[in-house]
């Protein structure tokens, strides 16, 4: 317990202003048969209490890997973190011992996974699995843990929690299972929740229920939330700020309203134009040509250059830094002004 106390007591005088989590220049690579796959190549982002950061990207963009690095659940090897810092409440988690990190995981930072059915143990009742959080972390008795589990299930609005506490995961619907995942993440009242595609496997009406619940609980506990997703619609609904990832880098980061109104990176712009809209009958969709790059052979210069309609020679040679756009935004494009200006 002393370690935990240290963490909350140490912070500098302006602790209230400092972000809850700050990721600096994070690199993650995987050693594979085909060579080194550079999944994350220098990512920076931060989240404050009560704030929602959406990390947006396609498959293979490194969005989930960076979150797993923050959570400390990457399999190492094959993964390696050659460089980077992850500050949580003022301390670099990458420099902590395994024991120290384990105390943060679950208690201070919790994660919600995409596929609730494969994330829950099929041979244990949900009540047992929820209660496990309290038995392991707080040393409660089985009986007390079960009572707490029922309380949690009530809080995520699972009907008839008392009767259903002994049910097994397969007896619940997809939406209910995802609620159980949320309950498990909330059990120890963490400061930060990382939700990795929490609603991708769900139908829209259920997705709306789950996202509403998550947003409400976030407000109630003033938690930081990192939402990892590929769905531009979900992001527009809940996020405060967005980081768009492509080939392991953040190509644009901005408050949510700015990015949808005026994207400052050709990739973001292409994505926004390529999705059909519910409220408009569109013409032909804009399609970003080509495919996302192979992570073992990321193109030189800007990784997006082979697919970019604006690419010039400089894009093939120089990696664009994250240029500041106004006060709170950044765009990793040599031609961000032109992109904005159009």
């Amino acid at each position: 317990m002393t370690v935990i106390d240290d963490i909350s007591d140490v912070p500098t005088p302006d602790a209230s202003l400092a972000p809850l989590l700050e990721v600096r220049d994070l690199h993650v690579e995987f050693h594979t048969r085909d060579g080194v796959a550079k999944a994350v190549n220098g990512v920076n982002y931060s989240v404050s209490a009560g704030e929602t950061l959406a990390v947006l990207g396609e498959s293979g963009s490194g969005k989930s890997v960076s979150a797993q690095a923050v959570m400390g659940i990457l399999d190492m090897p094959p993964a390696r973190i050659p460089k980077g810092e992850i500050f949580f409440q003022g301390r670099d988690m990458l420099k902590m011992s395994g024991e120290e990190r384990r105390k943060i995981r679950g208690r201070k930072i919790a994660m919600i996974f995409q596929d609730a059915l494969s994330s829950l143990n099929p041979v244990l009742s949900v009540g047992y699995q929820l209660g496990e959080m309290y038995r392991v972390h707080q040393g409660l008795s089985r009986k007390d843990a079960k009572a707490k589990a029922i309380e949690l299930m009530d809080r995520v609005r699972i009907p008839a929690a008392r009767e259903r506490v002994g049910d097994y995961p397969h007896q619940f619907s997809g939406g209910m299972r995802q609620r159980i995942m949320i309950a498990m993440a909330l059990a120890l009242e963490p400061d930060l929740i990382i939700a990795d595609e929490p609603t991708t496997a769900l139908d829209v009406t259920v997705q709306a229920q789950v996202m509403e619940l998550l947003a409400e609980l976030q407000r109630e506990y003033n938690m930081g939330l990192i939402l990892i997703t590929h769905d531009l619609g979900v992001v527009a609904d809940v996020a405060d700020k967005i980081a768009v990832m492509y080939a392991g880098r953040i190509v644009e980061d901005a408050p949510v309203h700015d990015i949808y109104a005026k994207p400052a990176h050709p990739y973001t712009k292409g994505l926004l134009q390529s999705i059909p809209r519910l409220d408009q009958k569109g013409q032909e969709l804009y399609a970003i040509k080509g495919l996302p790059p192979n992570l073992t052979r990321i193109p030189s210069g800007c990784a997006f250059n082979p697919r970019c309609p604006m690419a010039q020679d400089i894009c093939r040679t120089d990696v664009p830094p994250l240029h500041p756009v106004g006060t709170a935004r950044g765009s990793a494009c040599h031609f961000w002004k032109e992109t904005l200006g159009e």
Binding site: S173, V204, Q209, E212, L278, K281, L285, Y286, P292
Partner: protein, 381 residues
């Protein structure tokens, strides 16, 4: 539209329209155009009261039926040449079962599927094979729907083994190369295996296979839901291009309402094995009258943060009931905020609501609700 249980003869329809056209030249022209349109609008596929129940059995040696999963329970619609009919609904609503029934991959429990006046549910053997040539399917998962041990050339050329009359033996390779070119793949890839392609490219291979026999109808079951956003747009554009080029009719089954709106001319919304509402894309998306459609549409996140404050959200409570034991009366009543006693007793039929019958409004389309009422939930621009 669906009041006729038998397919109309195209010549009949044209003749009636021509009869009406007698007096002066102007009206004759109009009538002629109308007749042309009518003949043109003869449905290519007519689905009537389609039912599929999967039996639930108990016992190991002596199996007895204890119930049935009513996956599809009375679905009717028409498909016209060159149009796209979207079918949307949540998982378990029976939309994929409908696709299988249309292909005669599952035996129907009841109902008919008329293809050019022929009921394909009654066909078998050679006659069925001939019809299937004209109705092809593109599947959801491009990773499991292609045989990993066959080359792309063999996969796309396999339909020719079953229907050799389409491409004579010597011509096949050329034909496969053409197909690869049509779907935007390099014809030199003909000897590669599926694992050498990305998800979007594999879906193109699936589409090429669907096109191989020059079908008239392609049934697409969630063709882009396994693809990334930027690749999705490429495949959707390809499908629209092919439709114009080959005058294909699509039945486009998906759960993503935005994509369905983009590609469809008409849309049917399914709930628990029945169609809740069907109409043109503007009728369904801008003037929905069924509460389920309204809830479904309001739940779709719109990629516009400005909209989040002023958009009305209808959050449904609870889950979809089990199709083995659907609610009495209206199947949506257990989650509906408008439900009254009548909804439990009397099943609403899919028809134009009487209150809209004599008014000229976009709300005048078929909706299976006792209390059908227009409501704009999308905030259409």
């Amino acid at each position: 539209m669906s009041d006729t249980t038998l397919p109309k003869d195209p010549e009949d329809a044209a003749a009636t329209a021509a009869e009406a056209a007698v007096p002066d030249a102007a009206t004759a022209l109009v009538a002629e155009a109308a007749a042309a349109q009518l003949a043109d609008r003869e449905p290519i596929l007519q689905v009537r009261n389609l039912v599929k129940h999967f039996p639930l059995t108990q016992g190991i040696i002596v199996k007895r039926q204890i119930g049935a999963v009513k996956a599809v329970d009375g679905v009717s619609f028409d498909l016209y040449a060159g149009e796209t009919l979207g079918i949307v609904g949540e998982s378990g609503c029976g939309k994929s079962t409908v696709a299988k029934l249309l292909m005669n991959l599952e035996q129907v429990t009841a109902g008919e599927v008329f293809y050019k006046g022929q009921d394909i549910t009654k066909l078998s053997g050679r006659a069925l094979k001939a019809v299937r040539r004209n109705i092809q399917m593109v599947f959801q998962d491009p990773y499991t729907s292609l045989n990993p041990r066959m080359t792309v050339g063999d996969i796309i050329g396999e339909p020719f083994d079953i229907h050799p009359e389409v491409a004579p033996k010597g011509d096949r390779r050329k034909r496969v190369e053409e197909l690869l070119d049509v779907v935007g793949l390099n014809p030199e890839y003909i000897n590669r295996y599926p694992h050498q392609f990305s998800g979007g490219q594999r879906q193109r291979i699936g589409i090429a296979r669907g096109l191989a026999l020059n079908p008239e109808i392609i049934i697409c079951d969630e063709p882009v839901s396994a693809l990334d956003v930027s690749v999705q747009a490429q495949v959707i554009n390809l499908m629209e291009k092919l439709q114009d080029e080959f005058n294909l009719s699509y039945i486009f089954i998906a759960h993503d309402l935005s994509i369905v709106r983009h590609i469809s001319d008409r849309v049917g919304v399914m709930y628990l094995g029945k169609i809740a509402e069907i109409g043109s894309d503007a009728e369904i998306y801008e003037h929905p009258t069924h509460p389920y459609t309204q809830a479904l549409l309001s739940a779709v996140p719109v990629p516009d943060p400005e909209a989040r404050e002023h958009r009305e959200r209808i959050i449904l409570s609870g889950d979809v009931p089990s199709p083995a034991n659907p609610p009495s009366g209206c199947r949506f009543r257990t989650r509906c905020w408008k439900a009254e006693d009548r909804c439990a007793l009397e099943e609403p039929l899919l028809a134009i609501p009487t209150r809209f019958a004599n008014v000229d409004t976009p709300a005048k389309h078929e909706s299976a609700c006792h209390f059908a009422e227009e409501k704009d939930v999308v905030g259409a621009a």
